[in-house]
């Protein structure tokens, strides 16, 4: 496997959806190609850091306010009857 081929399979590899044969070839490539190993490892870390970051968490007080506003508007909409929204 060449480095360019590794790159085109990287997303499928990280998502765990590669067929067994390609996965073995890719891992064999990673065992000797340090650059591709680093790219793979740091891409995986990138995903994990974002996934675990709790970026843009909705604070509980705002959450309650939003929910209550949504339900009030839904009920108003119901009273007005069916219409295009």
């Amino acid at each position: 496997m060449k480095c360019s081929e590794f790159l085109s399979e990287l997303t499928s590899y990280l998502d765990g959806v590669l067929d067994e044969k390609t996965k073995v070839e890719l891992e064999n490539h990673l065992s000797w190609c340090h650059n591709c190993y680093v790219v793979c490892d740091t891409t995986k870390k990138t995903i994990e850091i974002y996934r675990d970051s709790q970026l843009y968490e909705l604070p509980e007080d705002l959450r309650s306010r939003l929910r209550s506003a949504i339900m009030t508007k839904c009920q108003q909409q119901k009273r007005r009857g069916p219409q295009s929204v």
Partner: protein, 227 residues
């Protein structure tokens, strides 16, 4: 090195029971759906709009639209995927209003593959995120993802942050599966490249100040989104 584990939404059968009850007019069932997905919709909306007030509006508008159109929901897909589709459209509309001078579309012509090819190969510190305080880290992550085109960051957020499958992401965004895969790869590689500036392993005495990769305060304060 293994595959990434995704967060999954709650059980689909429970979701369907709630949707069917809400369709029959049970508002407490709909409220439960709001409770279940409001945080996800808010995150997605803020990632797309990069503005908290807009994200709050999107949460309200998306749920209100879902409520008003519930009878049209066919139950062939997950309610959550349908809701995300509504929320993404609302968020893109906000973004267009805010940045009318720029075309904002998920179909925008995104540059060739070359911009995503790895240029920086240096390894990262073992636990790079621990070099920064939580607040600094959030600033870095927020500014970094903000620098991606909306079409890239939306795919990344749905797939990697919210844990939708490739097929669900394609359906929510009206994109083909190959288009989602291609954008996801490029988004992941571009974010990796940009984060490397902060997270790279530094050799002692190389002229950089301290052990940190970049100067967060200066970079973040500059606010040019061009990390």
């Amino acid at each position: 090195m293994g595959a990434i584990q995704n967060k999954l939404a709650g059980p689909v059968s429970e979701e369907l029971t709630l949707v069917q009850a809400a369709k029959r007019g049970d508002d407490s069932a709909f409220e439960e759906l709001v409770r279940r997905y409001d945080r996800n919709v808010f995150r997605i909306a803020q990632h797309i709009t990069q503005n908290r007030e807009d994200a709050e509006d999107v949460v309200q508008e998306a749920f209100l639209k879902a409520y008003g159109n519930l009878s049209q929901f066919q139950e062939q897909s997950k309610f959550y995927t349908w809701l995300v589709r509504i929320a993404v459209n609302e968020a893109l509309m906000k973004l267009r209003r805010r940045k009318p001078e720029r075309t904002v579309s998920l179909d925008e012509d995104i540059k060739t593959e070359d911009d995503s090819l790895p240029r920086e190969i240096a390894d990262w510190s073992p636990n790079p995120e621990q070099q920064y305080t939580q607040a600094e880290l959030r600033e870095i992550l927020s500014k970094t993802i903000q620098g991606l085109p909306p079409g890239f960051r939306t795919v990344f957020v749905l797939r990697d942050v919210e844990g939708l499958s490739t097929e669900e992401t394609a359906s929510a965004l009206d994109l083909s599966v190959p288009a989602v895969k291609s954008r996801l790869l490029r988004a992941r590689l571009q974010l990796r490249e940009r984060l490397g500036r902060y997270f790279q392993r530094r050799e002692p005495g190389n002229g950089k100040s301290g052990s940190k990769g970049g100067d967060v305060k200066t970079d973040v304060a500059s606010g040019d989104g061009n990390l």
